[in-house]
């Protein structure tokens, strides 16, 4: 019984590996992709708001690396700050972020996520901050979805790290976290 259970687990893992590898191969010939993502942006000290982004990826042929440029928009509105203090920290609540990053995807068809490192600009109102970006994510191919082999699903978690000064305070390091899911189109 134990042997059978073990064998069936091995068979299941093998089947999953073959399936995932097959789905990864289905998109292996694509070099570029565009992604539309939506999710949450947790601005340190300001709360969490909805966030959306567009990403362009270029997959370097023959390697496990890709590079990415992304543009995101969100909000810095905070009910606590506006209700309790009536203070206005920035000239507006608009948030715009842009990132240039490189990523290493060890197993595009496997369970391992990809790791991403880069730099970005975080524009809060009229103030722009130069940020370091760390992230992990996963691209999941959707072969045959909507009759196409060029679609995929992805999720991303990013940490934008930068130095901030508010109202003449001493500079302090903030970690703004984004979590997004999106639909990826390969071409």
């Amino acid at each position: 019984m134990t042997t059978t259970s073990f064998s069936s687990r091995i068979a299941l893992i093998a089947a999953l590996a073959v399936t995932l590898a097959g789905s990864a191969r289905a998109q292996a010939h694509f070099e570029q992709s565009l992604t539309l993502s939506g999710g949450l942006y947790a601005a340190s000290g300001f709360g969490t708001n909805f966030y959306s982004s567009g990403r362009y990826d270029y997959f370097i042929p023959g390697t496990r690396y890709f590079v990415e440029a992304s543009l995101g928009v969100g909000s810095l509105s905070s009910k606590v700050i506006s209700t309790v203090t009536k203070a206005r920290i920035f000239t507006s609540d608009n948030l715009v972020t842009y990132e240039f990053a490189g990523a290493f995807d060890y197993a595009p068809g496997g369970a391992m996520p990809y790791f991403l490192f880069g730099v970005g600009g975080v524009r809060e109102g009229q103030e722009t901050h130069f940020a370091g970006v760390l992230g992990i994510g996963k691209r999941i191919a959707l072969p045959g979805f909507l009759g196409s082999n060029a679609l995929g699903f992805r999720y991303d978690i990013r940490d934008q790290i930068f130095s901030q000064v508010i109202n003449n305070s001493d500079p302090f390091i903030v970690h703004n976290i984004t979590a997004t899911v999106g639909l990826q189109i390969y071409f």
Binding site: E31, Y58, I60, P61, T63, V67, A69, T91, Y98, F100, V119, G121, G125, Q126, E127, T128, H129, F130, V165
Partner: protein, 188 residues
């Protein structure tokens, strides 16, 4: 002649025969067009490049985009970037002439010189207005192509501009150094 020496002779002869047969049946592969063509050849046609980049100017971070039109050794470049400062952001926009020191292969070093407009936009300063000045730059770098369409780019540049006080009585010449790294996408 002993059995072992006969066996050795037979083995030697068969090895020689095999080597000769191998040499006859597999001639050296002809040099095809693809093996002679370098990965990048800037002489073959006009090429266009898009180069997003990031770096440091002084202690401030920068982001920018460069658009190049290249034929052979010469490139015309349109560059715009954002230099992120604490009290103001600087937006240099320039047109540059680029001399490519190589036109073949993966590695293309280059030198560049150009001029343009510098826009200094204050941050959160009430009443402050955008200041524009003329500036020049020169420098050099290299593009290293990993594939026929994608490469990385390193560059170091010296920028300088002259600013005057509001009454125009005094001019100051300011110098800035920038180091940047980026990607380049090549289209023919």
């Amino acid at each position: 002649m002993s059995v072992s020496s006969r066996l050795r002779s037979t083995l030697l002869a068969s090895t020689l025969l095999c080597a000769a047969a191998h040499g006859q049946t597999t001639p050296a592969p002809p040099v095809t067009e693809s093996t002679r063509t370098p990965l990048i050849d800037l002489n073959e046609s006009v090429a266009f490049e898009v180069c997003p980049h990031t770096g440091m100017m002084g202690s401030s971070g920068t982001f920018g985009l460069k658009l190049l039109m290249t034929y052979s050794s010469f490139s015309l470049e349109l560059a715009g970037e954002q230099v992120i400062g604490r009290t103001a952001n600087l937006y240099p926009v320039s047109v540059n002439a680029v001399l490519n020191l190589s036109t073949h292969g993966r590695l293309i070093p280059y030198g560049a010189v150009g001029a343009g407009l510098w826009l200094t936009v204050p941050v959160n300063a009430l009443g402050a207005e955008t200041v524009s000045t003329l500036g020049m730059n020169f420098g050099g770098g290299a593009r290293f192509f990993i594939t026929r369409t994608f490469g990385i780019r390193l560059e170091a540049k010296q920028y300088f501009t002259s600013i005057s006080d509001s009454r125009g009585l005094k001019n100051d010449l300011l110098f800035f150094q920038e180091v940047s790294v980026g990607a380049t996408f090549l289209f023919h």
